[in-house]
């Protein structure tokens, strides 16, 4: 179905150097965005008539401790109009910050809170960034790779 192929093409034309990398696996296309352009790219994808990604399905993060920019934010967008999906990523330093997508989609609220809770990454502009699944007095960020599953 070539999810997001057309959108990635449009993104590279429209934003050029702000699209740092793109690729695909099993016909699912993804693009890595410059964190400075994170919210602008997302807003354009939401509003442009050619893309119309009106739903933010999910926001999460992946921890790559060996990389220079160890936190990768991953957002999944969906367009009802075109029945298309796109995976949008951006790479940021440990603990962020990265622009929050809450001004664009209400669904970013809880999902970014969870990413903060699990990875300690700060979303700037988030109205209510506090833990959501772990308790308030918990000090670690469980999905970070240095944290073992069992502590003996």
């Amino acid at each position: 179905m070539a999810d997001g192929a057309q959108a990635v093409d449009l993104l590279t034309q429209r934003f050029g150097a702000a699209i740092l990398e793109h690729g695909s696996f099993r016909d699912q296309h993804w693009a890595v965005v410059d964190p400075k352009a994170w919210r602008a790219v997302a807003a354009w994808l939401r509003d442009d008539p050619a893309t119309r990604f009106n739903v933010l399905l999910d926001v999460t993060a992946v921890h790559w401790p060996d990389r220079e920019l160890p936190i990768e934010i991953v957002a999944h967008l969906y367009s009802h109009e075109r029945n298309d999906r796109l995976r949008l990523k951006c790479r940021v330093p440990d603990r962020g910050p990265v622009d929050s997508l809450t001004p664009l989609w209400a669904s970013a609220d809880w999902n970014e809170r969870e990413a903060f809770d699990m990875f300690g990454v700060v979303f700037s502009g988030h109205p209510d960034l506090r833990r959501i699944l772990m308790s308030d007095d918990y000090t670690d960020y469980p999905l970070r790779k240095e944290l073992p599953l069992f502590r003996g």
Binding site: R26, L57, V62, H76, N83, R87, S107, L133
Partner: protein
């Protein structure tokens, strides 16, 4: 699970109360902090995390097959649907497709568990609003559905029925005949449920105009499933992105107009009828042939052969102890479970366990819209709204 209650407004004339975490109307360990002006909700903060078991972390430390039992414990009212969703996601990562018979069996599983989950929703959400009779009717039929699941895979709740590349056991003609009897009886049963509620004056007063979400609001919150469809958006993963051969079956996607609790009720009732339709077609169209993929590196060999042949014994030993390797890559795959879109985002570094497994929970995103729904509503309406969102905390917290 933040214990703070200072996120509500600072008005001196309001009363802050806790609903839950152990309150019968919150359907599990959900805590809702309500700030009230008289009986009117000024602000609402749903607090989740009481059932957080860290499944995404656990997945990074388990082989793909070992994670299947954990999917039972996400939405524990429809474990089969999550089993199917996870197996499909790993198969997408591997780039394999199961034989047609297996796909049809998985459709049976998904639709049977949709009916089961909706029966729980109908019984409990009606009970919350005082219609206690409904509970006894739906739980009687849910018992029937559990008997069928037990006959299918030996367990009622912890089914762990799917495997990557197949299912644990084939279905028998006798089981299909028993399922057929259930399918034949359900339309009449659903008529009976409707006779209790659909035109019931108290039910209408408690549900109509309550918890309204416009289509735009629902989309902004990433709401999926019956809650989104009740707001008039005909989005169903089974139609938008058919998997397991759903494109072969005839069924409708019911939608509502008002996006209130009553429309969610109507949508779910109609979804049960549509599930019955799909089950009926799947039973009659059940293909013959192999059930599981023929790949000894991925799929467990037959037990009979394991006990008699050296090679199969080795394959079983390797799959169970070491698992199989997935290619380097990342995929997102989602299925339509009873609560909405359940997605798995798997990042593989080529190992035997995922580097990262993200569970895009339908109930989590749907529950996030609760505060919006109850803004300015009465306390009693909060109960109706929670029931109509139908959150299962096992899937919210994961």
């Amino acid at each position: 699970m933040p214990a703070r209650i200072d996120t509500v407004t600072d008005r001196p004339d309001t009363l802050t109360i806790n609903m839950g975490p152990s309150h019968p109307a919150t359907h599990g360990v959900l805590r809702v902090i309500l700030e009230l002006d008289g009986e009117t909700v000024v602000s609402c903060d749903p607090v989740c995390g009481y059932l957080h078991r860290g499944m995404e972390k656990i997945a990074e430390n388990r082989t793909y097959l070992q994670f299947i039992p954990y999917t039972d414990r996400m939405d524990y009212l429809s474990p089969l649907a999550a089993n199917v969703g996870f197996a499909l996601a790993v198969e997408e990562l591997l780039g394999i497709r199961v034989p047609p018979r297996c796909e049809a069996i998985r459709v049976l599983c998904a639709e049977l568990s949709r009916i089961g989950a909706h029966l729980v929703w109908l019984g409990t959400s009606a009970l919350d609003l005082g219609a206690a009779t409904m509970f006894f009717h739906t739980f009687k039929d849910r018992e029937w559905h559990y008997d069928l699941i037990e006959d299918l895979c030996g367990a009622r709740l912890t089914t762990s029925y799917t495997r990557v590349g197949g299912v644990a056991y084939d279905v028998t003609p006798e089981w299909l005949a028993r399922l057929d009897a259930f399918v034949k009886a359900m339309p009449g049963r659903i008529d009976d449920y409707e006779s209790l509620l659909t035109k019931n004056g108290i039910w209408l007063k408690r549900t109509q105009g309550v918890g309204k979400l416009t289509a735009q609001q629902a989309l902004e919150f990433g709401v999926t499933g019956p809650v989104l469809r009740a707001s008039g958006v005909a989005y169903d993963v089974r139609k938008a992105r058919p998997y397991s051969g759903y494109e072969q079956y005839e069924f409708d996607v019911p939608t509502g107009i008002e996006g209130d609790v009553y429309d969610r009720y109507l949508v779910r009732i109609e979804e049960m009828r549509q599930s019955v339709r799909i089950l009926d077609q799947a039973i009659r169209m059940m293909p013959q042939g192999p059930v599981n993929v023929d790949d000894p590196k991925i799929f467990l060999p037959e037990k009979r052969k394991v006990l008699t042949s050296m090679e199969e014994l080795i394959h079983q030993f390797m799959i169970v102890t070491e698992g199989f390797t997935c290619p380097v890559g990342e995929i997102y795959h989602s299925t339509e479970v009873p609560k909405g879109e359940l997605g798995f985002y798997i990042v593989s570094e080529g190992g035997k366990a995922p580097y990262r497994l993200r569970i895009r929970s339908s109930a989590f995103n749907n529950l996030a819209s609760l505060a919006k729904q109850v803004q300015g509503a009465l306390v009693a309406d909060v109960v109706a709204c929670i029931g109509s969102i139908d959150p299962v905390m096992g899937e919210v917290d994961r």
